[in-house]
């Protein structure tokens, strides 16, 4: 089992999820199974984390031939880039099973499948394998929103599904293009991402393929202006699905850009990085400003999440170690803080039966523990030093300044924008006077406190002592950046040579 | 000349198609389909003769068997239709309309 620790982490939840869906399991039993399985995955994950030495390369590699004639392999592996994303998922999933007790078994089954597929997408080292997990990841979300969502669930489901699928089909075309290019260049079929660094793509087709990849990931992240599915989906989805979407799935989009786009499309990436960086930073501001106008706290958090994703994505496009490490760190930090916020929103919604900010008030007095936890997650989300949110945001802003001053300054405004809507919401929900509705609000139960405690502790620990985490991701980030810079130099040399040749003529 | 047989087969087949697409009487449509099957049979047997191989005969036999099965089912459907709607018009089936 421990030679195949990644496969176990992927297929254990998927199998359990399928069993839950197909076999007649009672409601509470399925929740218990879900919890046990997710804890098992967490234990495997911790073992993996402990065994990870962080030298910068792929570890825990599993490889076997899958479709021989096309050179498709079942390749799994973890490096510094994927490790923390993987761990964020593993750590956060058990919480959901502890928190939401009133759902049907399909709910838990879908969650498990989502967990497995996400782990798969993060570990996959083969483009085709990645694509499959990427698509599988969407299915449980589709069902969860469609079956257990709020009032506008149908249109929200359609929107997210069609949007995402449109993106991923373009990506599939781009993957096939890459495979074919590899075949023409080296004479053998391969979709192994590790080998793609040697691939040289040229011309408008390469740009198109790059656009295909970026579009798929931009929709998933979501980058401005492809974010419009997000508020609807996040709002209508049941809290667990929102949690999965915001905390992990969006991060996989970011992760995938680093893992797949940067090594393969180095020259295109460096060429369009500025535009993409603007998309990121504008998205941050745009969604942040839109958040202030929300009357529904879940939708507000959705915009807030989109806003943060803008700045997280920005970190990739800045092309320096600080920003990239910041992004990777922020992936986890944001997963914990926003994830927790959405879970809190779910609890609020479940207990108060409303999503309107105006209906609430005075909860801090009624439920101090809840308020404290919420405040900590909120402060992490606005990037206060001492919480996990600061480190990543600071690194990204620092990197952005190096990349481009205007972008850096705009990115810095996230300090202000985030605080505006968050405080506004906090004031209306937690402060001021209690009303009849919030009068009955009861504080977190012991189980809930126990479920949230790891997240809260993680938020604080990652803020105060982030170095152990950074140590694991920094080498991989450095490798990515150096290969990217190398690419840039090669491109520059090519331009120079072309210039010289023209002069000779 | 085997060509004549095949040409005849084509003519019969086309007449069958014409029957299917231009008539609304269920029986006529059904028999037109039988006509097309027969045209195919004729082609099979001609080719069988051409290559002096009897596989075509076997296939023709099977087609006849299938035609028999089809006849049984189709006529059952026709009876049902007549009972149900009292007419023999194919145009009363318009459930495919979106």
């Amino acid at each position: 089992m421990f030679e195949h620790i990644l496969s176990s982490m992927i297929f254990l939840p998927i199998l359990a999820g399928l069993i839950l869906l197909l076999a007649p399991v009672p409601k509470n039993g399925s929740r218990a199974i879900g919890f046990v399985v997710s804890v098992a995955v967490l234990i495997l994950g911790l073992k993996l984390y402990a065994g990870f030495n962080g030298a910068g390369g792929m570890e825990f590699v599993e490889k076997c031939t899958w479709i021989k004639s096309l050179g498709i392999h079942y390749t799994l592996g973890v490096d510094g880039i994927s490790l923390l994303v993987l761990m964020a998922g593993a750590v956060l999933f058990p919480t959901i099973f502890l928190l939401f007790s009133t759902k049907t078994k399909g709910y838990y089954g879908n969650l498990l499948i989502a967990e497995g597929a996400m782990t798969g997408a993060v570990c996959a080292g083969d483009l085709i394998l990645f694509y499959i997990f990427w698509e599988v990841m969407l299915l449980p979300i589709f069902f969860m929103i469609g079956l257990y969502g709020g009032e506008g669930k149908i249109s929200a489901t359609l929107k997210i599904t069609l949007y995402t699928i449109a993106g991923s089909l373009l990506m599939l075309a781009a993957i096939i293009f890459i495979g074919v290019s590899y075949h023409t260049q080296f004479g053998v079929w391969s979709f192994d991402i590790a080998k793609m660094a040697g691939l040289r793509l040229h011309g408008s087709m390469a740009v198109l393929a790059f656009a295909g990849f970026m579009l798929a990931f931009a929709i998933k992240i979501p980058l401005f202006p492809f974010h419009t599915w997000l508020p609807d989906a996040y709002t209508e989805a049941p809290s667990a699905a929102t949690f999965v979407l915001s905390a992990i799935m969006a991060k996989i989009g970011v992760y995938a850009v680093i893992r797949f786009v940067v090594p393969v499309f180095g020259p295109e990436f460096t060429k369009y990085a500025l535009i993409l960086a603007y998309a990121g930073v504008i998205g941050m501001m745009y969604c942040g400003i839109a958040a202030i106008a929300q009357k529904d706290f879940k939708r507000m958090l959705a915009f807030s999440s989109a806003s943060h994703m803008g700045i997280i994505a920005l970190g990739i496009f800045c092309m320096n170690v600080q920003a990239l490490t910041g992004t990777l760190f922020q992936i986890v930090a944001h997963a914990t803080s926003t994830g927790a916020l959405f879970l809190f929103a779910g609890i609020l919604e479940e207990r108060m039966n409303t999503r309107k900010i105006a209906d609430l008030g005075g909860i801090a007095g009624k439920a101090p523990v809840f308020a404290m936890f919420f405040a900590i997650a909120m402060l992490a989300s606005v990037g206060l030093p001492g919480t996990s949110g600061f480190i990543g945001e600071f690194l990204i802003i620092l990197g952005a300044i190096k990349f481009n001053v205007i972008i850096g300054v705009l990115a810095g405004t996230s300090l202000i924008i985030g605080v505006c809507y968050m405080l506004w919401m906090f004031q209306r929900v937690f402060f001021e006077k209690v009303n009849e509705r919030t009068e009955k609000f009861r504080d977190l139960t012991s189980v809930e406190v126990f479920a949230f405690l790891p997240i809260i502790i993680l938020i604080v620990v990652m803020g105060i002592y982030p170095q152990p985490f950074i140590k694991k991701i920094e080498p991989a980030a450095k490798i990515q950046i150096s290969s990217l810079l190398h690419n840039m130099q090669v491109a520059d040399l090519n331009v120079l040579e072309r210039g010289r040749n023209q002069e000779k003529k | 000349m085997i060509l004549n047989y095949l040409t005849l087969s084509i003519v019969l087949f086309c007449l069958g198609i014409l029957g299917v697409i231009s008539r609304r009487n269920v029986f006529t449509v059904f028999m037109s389909i039988e006509l097309m099957l027969n045209a195919a049979n004729l082609a099979f047997i001609s080719f069988s003769r051409l290559h002096v191989s009897m596989d075509g005969h076997v296939l023709a036999l099977m087609i006849i068997a299938v035609a028999a099965a089809e006849a049984a089912l189709a006529l059952a459907v026709v009876i049902l239709l007549h009972k149900h709607k009292g007419v023999l018009d194919t145009n009363i089936f318009s459930l495919l309309k979106g």
Binding site: K159, Y163, F224, H227, T228, P231, I289, A290, I292, A293, N320, V321, Q322, G326, G362, A364, G365, P368, V369, M372, L384, P385, G386, F390, F394, L395, I397, L398, I401, K402, G408, G412, L415, I416, V419, C420, L423, W424, Q427, F430, F431, E432, K433, Y465, P466, Q467, I470, E474, A477 | V20, I21, R24, V29, T90, N91, F93, S94, L96, K97, G98
Partner: protein, 639 residues
């Protein structure tokens, strides 16, 4: 010795932080059942600050034993984060500047904690208050001790957060929470400047040479002048946010919504002086670009003038003090701006005493008057509250710059430095403001303590607060009286101990001036004080009714409508844009392509719907037509 001191450096901020965490956890764990006794919390709350204070004195003493050029103690607790060139360790540094700050922050902080035990005795969430206070003090100590801009920023943001928490402490009242929000958001605007300044500084010199103050100071000359100017101005934006200068001063008067000890802690000793401290900290940068210093000085003195005008027309005792704080902060910036860093810091030091004293005194008055803050409803209290009256009088004299109270020395040094360094305009405004300060301070004293009581029943019930509150007042009064002598001017044969002490940390620009000039400057200040206090005496000593403001006074009373202007210019457009994005732009423009696609598909669907008659025969016909077309096509190719 040194090792112990380094050990202390880590512990000093940690003690209040531990206190905060312990108290907070205890509070949260017991909030559902029976609360623990307040006394327990009170003891716990005071342990941290007091221990820190003792250690701060130790550190100071150890520092004094070192030779002047080696007066720097650094303690790297652990590597905080390290990415590429960026290596940030959680390091704490004590040099003369931070040690001086450390002393009075911990000392006054401890006193305020003690005072709060009395002031907050009836509060329902007593423990929460002290958790916040401890957290605040801890953050402030991190700010002061941080060995680099990033660690400093932790404290910087931490005090911002705590001020938010403490200002909106009575959170059932919307206006309090709004004041808290305002404080946090305005501070954040400043923080943006700080972060950007930090980033530019880092890429300018920090990336290659280390990013702590020692290295930065050693390499400051490597930064190009233009860049230095940009960094200095950005950092100053941060300082305007934290220290309530134009244009970001608006949060501070509103921050009076918090409990009075909070106002004392925030406005006197700690948070608001952080900006001044930061400019002094970065004196090695400001020394390179005089233009930056000039801007700082002008912003400071204009803030001083503006808030002094406001202060003359307020009727809330805490607002008067709040504006006087803003005004004094303006002085401090004027001081650091004209490169008289030690003078600025000295004013921070003296101001900490007398302003804490005034706020705590005001707290006593408010406590005695059952939370009445309008000065026009008080009056004649000097008989009822003798200790408070006397101590506040000391504070007021110090604030107004009456010799030989502490405020006189520090303020005079700033004004003299401005004059001697060639900033005559600043000096003139400064003297004018000194007069106005004396006027509004004594207006408050006269209206509150002299004359006849306006509210008879409240007056009858007023009584001197318990000793736990008056003792800190007395200690602070002694401090306010004597602190000035620490930097006794050379003119009177003093040794300027504070300036000498600070010399290794800050790059003072020492003016060379004649003694006559110094006498002249001092005379002007004293004259302004006398004029100010005389006008106040004439107008208010007899006791007057609440005036009805009109004309300019009304305009000033409403703070020149700056809040409303900001609201109109910034807040409302922000909200409008947000609503516009959400209601129109997002669904119509950004989502436009998606909607257009959907619409096209719908159109295509309805177009093709026509041929979907539902008749099987028709489908057969389509099939045959298709077959026919394909046949035609293939026949073509067969030829």
């Amino acid at each position: 010795m040194e090792h112990t001191a380094q050990f202390y450096l880590g512990l000093i901020p940690l003690m209040p932080l531990i206190g905060a965490v312990v108290i907070g956890l205890m509070h949260v764990m017991t909030c559902r059942g029976d609360r623990l006794p307040n006394k327990l919390y009170a003891v716990l709350a005071c342990v941290g600050p007091v221990v820190s204070c003792i250690m701060a004195f130790q550190v100071f003493a150890i520092l004094r034993t070192l030779p002047v050029e080696h007066r720097i103690l650094v303690h790297n607790a652990f590597t905080w984060f390290s990415v590429g060139e960026l290596k940030i360790s959680m390091g704490f540094m004590a040099d003369p500047l931070s040690a001086l700050m450390l002393l009075f922050v911990t000392f006054i902080g401890s006193l305020i904690h003690v005072y709060s035990i009395g002031y907050m005795a009836d509060d329902k969430t007593f423990a929460k208050f002290f958790a916040y206070m401890n957290l605040f003090l801890g953050s402030m100590l991190i700010l002061v001790l941080g060995d680099g801009p990033v660690v400093m920023f932790v404290g910087w943001e931490g005090v911002g957060l705590c001020s938010y928490l403490l200002i909106s402490y009575y959170n059932e009242d919307q206006s309090n929470v709004l004041a808290g929000n305002k404080a946090f958001i305005v501070n954040r605007i400043g923080d943006l400047g700080f972060v950007l300044g930090m980033a530019f500084l880092f890429w300018g010199i920090g990336a290659n040479n280390g990013f702590d103050y020692v290295s930065l100071r050693a390499n400051a000359h490597l930064l190009p002048p233009a860049m230095t100017l940009v960094v200095c101005l950005l950092l100053f934006v941060g300082a305007t946010g934290k220290s309530a200068q134009i244009p970001l001063y608006v949060w501070l008067p509103d921050a009076m919504a918090g409990p009075t000890p909070v106002s004392a802690l925030i406005h006197a000793a700690t948070m608001v002086t952080a900006g001044v401290y930061m400019v002094a900290r970065f004196s090695f940068l400001y020394a390179h670009v005089p233009a930056a210093g000039e801007i700082v000085a002008w912003v400071g003195i204009l803030t001083a003038l503006l808030s002094a005008i406001y202060g003359m027309f307020q009727d809330d005792i805490k607002k008067v003090l709040a504006y006087s704080t803003v005004s004094q902060l303006g002085y401090m910036f004027a001081g650091v701006g004209v490169a008289a860093y030690s003078a600025g810091i000295f004013h921070v030091f003296t101001h900490a005493f007398f302003k804490a004293l005034l706020f705590l005194g005001a707290g006593s008055v408010i406590y005695a008057m059952h939370h009445e803050q309008n000065i026009w409803k008080m009056g004649g209290l000097k008989k009822k509250l003798p200790i408070t009256y006397l101590t506040m009088l000391v504070g007021a004299l110090a604030l107004s710059g009456c010799p030989p109270f502490s405020g006189f020395f520090s303020k005079d040094e700033i004004l003299f430095s401005a004059y001697a360094n060639g900033f005559k305009g600043i000096w003139m405004i400064g003297v004018l403001v000194a007069g106005m300060t004396a006027y509004y301070t004594f207006r408050m004293i006269f209206v509150v303590f002299w004359g006849e009581p306006k509210n008879k029943s409240a007056y009858d019930h007023a009584h001197e607060p318990p000793a736990v509150m008056t003792v800190p007042l007395i200690i602070l009064a002694v401090g306010a009286l004597l602190a000035g002598f620490l930097n006794f001017p050379a003119l009177f044969g003093g040794h300027q101990l504070v300036s000498q002490w600070l010399a290794p940390s800050v790059l003072d620009h020492h003016p060379h001036a004649e003694a006559a000039t110094e006498w002249m400057a001092m005379g002007a200040s004293v004259a302004a004080f006398i004029i100010g206090i005389s006008i106040a005496f004439v107008k208010f000593a007899k006791g007057v009714e609440m005036p009805v403001f009109s004309g300019f006074a009304k305009f000033a009373y409403h703070k020149f409508y700056v809040d409303e202007l900001y609201d109109f210019l910034l807040v409302q457009p922000y909200k409008t844009i947000g609503a516009m994005i959400w209601e129109h732009f997002d669904p119509d423009v950004t989502d436009g392509p998606r909607k257009a696609t959907a619409f096209l598909y719908g159109m295509a669907g309805s177009a093709f719907k026509v041929i979907q008659t539902g008749y099987v025969r028709m489908y057969a016909i389509y099939m045959v037509i298709g077959l026919s077309l394909i046949s035609l096509l293939i026949s073509q190719t067969l030829n």
